[in-house]
Symmetry: C2
Subunit: 206 residues, 2 copies
C-alpha cells in the first residue's frame, strides 16, 4: 500500500492502436488520473508480440469468444458513452501508428496524446484503416506535425529500434493485453479495471 497523500508518480498506460478497449481507456485515463493529481505516461504497444509469448491470438478468431467480443465492444462503447463503429478491417497491424506516436512524443508529449486520440478515433469512429502509412501521416499532419519529416523518420531504422525496445520493456513488466496500466507498480489489465484503478488511486491501494 502506498500513501495517497504522497504518491504523485505518473500512471503507465500501455495500449495497442488496434484495441477497442485500449481506445476506451485512452478516452478516460487522463481525466481519471487528473482527479487524483496524477499524470499519465502513454506507451504504444504491439499485441502481436505478446501473442507469441502467451500463445493467444486476436479476439475475433476465437470460437464463441470472438462473436461475443464484437458484441461486447459495441455495448461497452455505449456503456462508456463513447462513439464507436466496428472497423471494416479488424484487427490491423499498428506499427506505423505506434512509431509515429513515439516520434511525436519525443518532441512534444501533448501532441503525441492528441495524435493518439485522433488515430484511435479515426480507426474506431471513422473507419479509417490506420495500418496504412498515408493515413497515419494524414492524421499527424492535421494536428500540425510536419508530414515529410515524420515520413522520413518512419522510414528509418532508429524509430523501429525504439518501438521494439518499448515493447520489450512492456513484456518485461508483464504487459500482455491492451489497455494495461501500472499505478505505483500495481498492474491492471482491461478497460473494465478502471473502477479498480480509481479506487486504488483514491485509497492508495486496497
Amino acid at each position: 500500500m502506498t500513501d495517497p497523500q504522497r504518491s504523485t508518480a505518473p500512471i503507465d498506460f500501455y495500449f495497442d492502436f488496434s484495441s477497442p478497449y485500449g481506445y476506451f481507456a485512452a478516452e478516460k485515463i487522463d481525466d481519471l488520473a487528473a482527479r487524483y493529481g496524477r499524470t499519465v505516461l502513454w506507451h504504444p504497444f504491439l499485441l502481436g508480440v505478446t501473442f507469441k509469448v502467451t500463445g493467444l491470438g486476436p479476439l475475433p478468431g476465437i470460437p464463441l469468444k470472438g462473436a461475443y467480443s464484437l458484441h461486447d465492444i459495441a455495448r461497452s462503447a455505449r456503456y462508456f458513452g463513447l462513439p464507436f463503429r466496428q472497423p471494416s478491417v479488424f484487427p490491423i497491424p499498428t506499427q506505423h501508428a505506434a512509431r509515429a506516436f513515439l516520434w511525436i512524443g519525443d518532441r512534444n508529449p501533448q501532441k503525441a496524446r492528441a495524435f493518439g486520440l485522433a488515430a484511435y478515433r479515426a480507426y474506431f469512429v471513422d473507419d479509417v484503416n490506420i495500418s496504412d502509412l498515408a493515413a497515419v501521416l494524414d492524421i499527424a499532419a492535421r494536428i500540425g506535425i510536419d508530414r515529410d519529416e515524420l515520413s522520413a523518420a518512419l522510414a528509418g531504422a532508429e524509430i523501429k529500434t525504439r518501438l521494439a525496445a518499448e515493447v520489450d520493456l512492456g513484456l518485461a513488466r508483464g504487459v500482455f493485453g491492451s489497455p494495461f496500466l501500472f499505478v505505483d507498480g500495481e498492474a491492471f489489465w482491461g478497460a473494465d479495471r478502471l473502477p479498480q484503478v480509481e479506487r486504488w488511486l483514491a485509497e492508495g491501494g486496497f
Copy 2:
C-alpha cells in the same frame, strides 16, 4: 431493448465451481437481480468443455496472463468485499459438484443455491478440494441433503447425462466462460460486467 416495466424474466447464470470470478458473481447476482424484481436460474457449467471449442485453457497456465490473473483474482475479491484464499490446488475438475447442484436443484432450487454458495466458499475460502466426491457429499450433508441418496445419484448414469445436456445447451447459447449471464437474451461474460448487467436491468437495455 426491452421495457424494464414489463420484463420479469429470470436471469440465466452459468458458472464453473473452479472459477473464482464465478464465485464472486455467485455471491452478488441474486441480490442484484432482486433489486430489479428478477430471479436467477443457476446453471452449473464445465469450462473444460469450452476449452476444447475455443482452443483456450485454464488461466494459470498462460504465460504472463496466468501470473497477472492470480494477482487480479485476490485483488478483485478485496474489491468485491468477499473473503478469498487462493486454493492450493487450482483449477480442479468440478463434475461432482456440478452434478450434485443439479440433483439437489431438481428437488429444491433454494437448497441448490445454498449448496452452490457453500461449495464455492469451501473451495475459495477454506481451501477444501471440491473435486473430491467425499468433500461434495460433506458440503451437501451440512445443508440437510441425504448423503447416501446423493451419493447413489452421483454414481448413476442419469445425472451425468443431465449435466452433459446442460453444458451442451450452454455451449449452444454461446457460453465460453464463467460467470456468463443472460438478461433477456443479452449475454454478459465476467464478474466485471456486473455493472453493465445492473444498468441493463435498470434501463431495459442501453
